[in-house]
């Protein structure tokens, strides 16, 4: 029961972060949003008994790809135009 509630909260948070990172005009915040989505997804993978995938998601999704995005934003522009 507690696990079910926790999973529900995690899924809800994941969706909020996903919508936020699509909607926001500040690309840096969007990257942080996708990083949060990656972290929550990796927790969900762990709960679903897939530790291998959880590790890959945490290391690549939350670590390396965030770094690559931040570097790219630093080289280009931070704000999205209409």
């Amino acid at each position: 029961m507690i696990l079910t509630i926790a999973v529900a909260i995690l899924i809800l948070m994941m969706m909020v972060f996903a919508v936020y990172s699509v909607e926001t005009k500040d690309l840096l915040y969007a990257v942080v949003g996708t990083m949060a989505v990656s972290l929550i997804v990796s927790i969900l993978f762990y709960v679903l008994q897939a530790p291998d995938v959880a590790m890959a998601e945490a290391a690549i999704g939350a670590g390396i790809s965030t770094a690559v995005f931040v570097i790219a934003i630093k080289k280009t522009e931070r704000y999205e135009h209409d």
Partner: protein, 233 residues
């Protein structure tokens, strides 16, 4: 406005769908969901391959050819990044314009860098025993190099050495496959003894391939990061 509310309603429906699927149809930690081919893997996997981590048994042994393709995809991606960013040039003698990292971060990276490398190596060497494997360990190794880049503005890797390492380990993967072809008639056939599951030297060719994949992925991701960092504004 209407567009947004439609989107929100769709998201709510998606949430309900995902949540009730997870809550009702997928019992956590229960193998009631297994059907057909997965039963074969679960009941015969350890005996067939000698790897106590079934995910690794599937990824490297049963589906080893797919993994070779995956590694190739990553290689093509790294090459693509290099090709796109190559012409943006790196004029000789021009420093990257950046604030120097403080002494704390620099000293921290000095101490933590070898430890992070060893931890990445631990993950891919034990790929057939514990969760993790070549891809995860390679990503950890790449973060170690990323920390180096963050802490020292003048640091850069030796491209020739990295490319050489990458080619050698990539060729190792292919050579192991070809040896299987020569000895038994099947590409990537497990020609080494399985050993007893749970020990480090078991599972035949799996550890060799995972060490190769780990080093290759680490080198490729580091190459991507290096290309991104070096480009001038």
């Amino acid at each position: 406005m209407i567009k947004k509310s439609i989107a929100l309603i769709l998201i709510a429906i998606l949430f309900v769908a995902i949540f009730f699927t997870l809550a009702n149809d997928l019992p956590f930690g229960d193998n009631r969901t297994t059907t057909g081919v997965s039963d074969k893997y679960i009941y015969h996997g350890v005996n067939d391959t000698g790897a106590s981590n079934l995910v690794t048994a599937i990824v490297v042994n049963y589906r080893g050819f797919d993994t070779l393709g995956e590694v190739t995809v990553l290689f093509v991606a790294a090459t693509g990044v290099g090709a796109v960013l190559y012409n943006m040039g790196r004029p000789a003698g021009k420093k990257r314009k950046k604030t120097e990292a403080s002494l704390i971060v620099r000293t921290g990276s000095r101490i933590l860098f070898p430890m992070m490398l060893l931890f990445g190596a631990y993950i891919f060497v034990h790929g057939h025993l514990t969760p993790g494997g070549g891809f995860q360990g390679g990503a950890v190794i790449a973060t170690a190099f990323l920390f180096k880049y963050v802490s020292d503005t003048r640091y850069h890797i030796d491209h020739n050495k990295f490319t050489a390492t990458e080619s050698v380990v990539g060729m190792t993967f292919a050579l192991v496959g070809i040896m299987g072809l020569l000895l038994t008639g099947y590409f990537l056939f497990n020609f080494l003894p399985n050993g007893s599951p749970g020990e480090l030297l078991s599972a035949g060719i799996i550890p060799i391939i995972y060490v190769a994949i780990g080093i290759k992925v680490g080198a490729e991701l580091t190459g991507i990061l290096d290309n991104m960092m070096e480009v001038e504004q």
